[in-house]
Symmetry: C2
Subunit: 230 residues, 2 copies
């Protein structure tokens, strides 16, 4: 009864075929909606005509640890690890300090193993969803940022950018001084003014002849105080 041999899936080793992915996508989609699918609905979504074949794949996905099932209930299938829709995990790329260059986001390297160091931030605190992917976080090391009202141990969240507008707080790398700094950015006639957040402190001025690399715009600062074990 099988005629179209070209449509059969081949799984040389233990990988994900197109069918595995289609099924996973559908289950995740339905899980997000709150209504988990039946075997037959999965079959329809993945172009599988037989319920036994769906069961066959579900068994594999379970063994891979991608889904969980409860045989006691119908439609009791759910993905094991689903990132929360209400959170966004911002990768922490590394430390930031006055005498160090700023780690730059690398779209390739970031998602190795999917188990990256990161901060979870509520979507409600973030700008639009689309731009969240441009965000990265840095761990502040040392007291060198106190003029930016940022302390040792703080986490700064930046939006990757190479330009800045007046009034933005930016992460700047000054090659000639071998210095990283976080300042409010103002473009003046012949120079840039880098203004500390702390109003009691003086700005520094960078002539336009001097190189100045803007690495990102600070969008948030999170400070966790060590909770002395209650």
């Amino acid at each position: 009864m099988l005629e179209r041999k070209d449509q059969m899936m081949v799984r040389t080793k233990k990988g994900m075929t197109l069918r595995h992915q289609k099924i996973m996508d559908f289950i995740v989609q339905r899980f997000d909606a709150g209504f988990p699918p039946s075997i037959r609905e999965i079959g329809e979504a993945a172009d599988i005509s037989s319920t036994s074949v769906v069961t066959y794949y579900l068994k594999q996905l379970t063994e891979m640890g991608l889904i969980e099932r409860d045989p006691k209930f119908s439609r009791a299938v759910r993905p094991t690890h689903v990132p929360s829709k209400d959170l966004y995990r911002i990768p922490i790329l590394g430390p930031i300090a006055a005498g160090m260059p700023i780690p730059v986001p690398d779209p390739q390297a970031v998602y190795i193993g999917d188990e990256i160091n990161g901060v979870d931030v509520a979507r409600s605190l973030l700008p639009e969803r689309e731009k969240a992917r441009e965000l990265f976080a840095l761990n502040v090391q040392g007291d060198s940022m106190i003029d930016a009202m940022i302390n040792d141990g703080d986490i700064v969240i930046l939006k990757s950018t190479f330009e800045a507008r007046n009034g933005d707080m930016v992460a700047v790398w000054l090659p000639e001084r071998n210095e990283t700094t976080l300042k409010f950015f103002y473009k003046e006639k012949e120079r840039y003014r880098l203004q500390p957040a702390n109003p009691t402190m003086k700005p520094i001025f960078i002539e336009k002849s001097e190189p100045l690399e803007i690495k990102g715009k600070v969008v948030m600062v999170i400070r966790k105080l060590q909770t002395t074990a209650a």
Copy 2:
């Protein structure tokens, strides 16, 4: 067939009877688990013997806007508004400034209308779940907290407490000075030392004879930089 008249639910107006609540609780519980219940399972959970009665209540809950159903699928029932399990909404009680007393959490008043001003924080950034209820947030007004490395517009998250340990950052009200301040707290022999977070600034000392009210312990500071509309 009905003998126990005392067990019948009476809904004088449009309120929630015990059965409504039992059903809602069960649906929410199952929704969180990812496996929505069937009509009969709901009936079992709410001690309802007839499936038609469950349907009857489900219809009411739908009309109240508490749940949603999709008649195309079985087990397709979900609560409409479920607070995310990954977030915790910390109520913002009001402003904090140097010359103002600190708003104190009032367990009664907080939950009016359930639509309170608040910050959503990822649970992963918070201490244990149990203690999250003791948290409240304040909106920093003015520059008076710059010695605590806290700026105008910052949000400070505090844990309600009346005592402090050495090294805690606390919100303190000094009645004799009519002053609110955020400082690291150290108990010394004859006095308290209130140390600014900014290492370049000097501590203030409070003799033990002077009254000092600890209102809370700072657990987190969140600073949102205004994103100049991209």
